[in-house]
Amino acid sequence: MRPNNLPAVIAAIALSLLSACSTASQSNGAALAKAGQAAAMQMEQSATLSAATYAALKQAVVFDAGFSNDTNDPVTQDFLKQETQIQTALAAYGTLLDKLANAYAALGALASYDASGTFSSAVSNLCGSADNLVSKMAKGGPAAANVCQPLSAGFGQIASAVQAQQVVDASDQIAGVLSTVIPILSDKSRRDLIVMNNQLVQRQIVAAANDLYASGVFSCGPLLTALGAPLGLTPVSGVDAVIDKHPNVKRGCLAVVSATAADSVNSAGAAYDKSVEALNALLDQHKKLKAGQPLDLDTINAILANLQGLAGKLQPPKGK
């Protein structure tokens, strides 16, 4: 090799290394964005109380009051008023998860093509929702706004290197927001309050179903079908009339209804905890991306599967 070719060779090697690093950052960014978006959307369904849940709560409470011949009970009215106020305070968490999903989608776009403008807008919304959560749940807590800045245009650099650096910076900004909100959502007292409220809402919703089952409105047929399935057995026609004549069978059906209701109430706490676990797992992956280490998305996918299972137990069932 002639000495005068050496600079060109070094430049080619450097370019090749730079290109490899850029590709790794972008592919890691895209993978993390996909996992993060899926996790944030699932968390929103599993760990927060949606408008549909509050509509179900109101219906259940009003039905229950009518069922008990207690329609004008002022305490029941006050309960619904209190829950409306709590819903307003806790909506900040749902909004944050919604904006987090949007920010991950924008990170994915940024990793695929130059979408820095889209990301800046999405991360600005994310910071706004994080600051709103701080103001609603932890007055005087740390502000997230300072971590959300426009991405550097990187003038004078190779386009792929600029894009790769933007992905790392964007990932860092999402990580900054996660670092702000995770301690707030992990605080034991606050966590207990949110979970208690979720359980309280679940208890009210399943109580109405319990009233109706006890009154004979619902059939135990589907449950008996499930119990007979291992042996290929199916309930006889008019099975509920048979159940009425056999208190033991009715008691068994009621026991399953009660256990399912308790499972539904207890799932609220598990769904919240898994959601915070998912946020922590995402934060770990952001740190790995920044350090140029390979990502481990299996943990996030496992939490996601767990959250999906819990969502099916909550009332009304989520994500269907």
Binding site: D64, A65, F67, S68, N69, D70, D73, V75, T76, D78, F79, Q82, E83, Q85, I86, A89, L90, K136, M137, A138, K139, G140, K188, S189, R190, D192, L193, I194, M196, N197, Q199, L200, R203, Q204, A207, N210, D211, A214, S215, G216, L254, S258, A261
Partner: protein
């Protein structure tokens, strides 16, 4: 003196028990007169919802009130063996009662 978490846990347990009792009564007698039972159940639910709302919305105030109360409690405990003056005791206890009342306002 119970902490905010203790008070909330007690309210939650009371609501769970009231709900279980109501459900058991409905299961045993779905066509019975359930009005009084329903009112009792909703009282515990309302008390819990009200306390959750106050604790969530007034977090710093509750925390400050609880910390002041816990400090006063610790102060009294620390002086148990040394304090002889009745007037000093009375001042400490009055302060404790006042702080307890302040905290109770947030939770009931």
């Amino acid at each position: 003196m119970p902490t905010t978490d203790d008070v909330m846990a007690s309210l939650n347990a009371a609501d769970q028990a009231a709900n279980d009792a109501y459900n058991a009564a409905v299961a045993a007698n779905p066509d019975g007169d359930l009005k009084t039972l329903h009112q009792a159940r909703m009282k515990t639910a309302d008390a819990l919802a009200t306390a959750i709302g106050k604790a969530l919305n007034s977090d710093p105030a509750v925390t400050a009130a609880q910390q002041a109360l816990d400090t006063a409690t610790a102060d009294i405990n620390a002086k148990l063996a040394t304090l002889k003056n009745l007037a000093a005791w009375l001042a400490l206890l009055n302060n404790l009662a006042s702080l307890a009342a302040d905290l109770a306002k947030f939770l009931v």
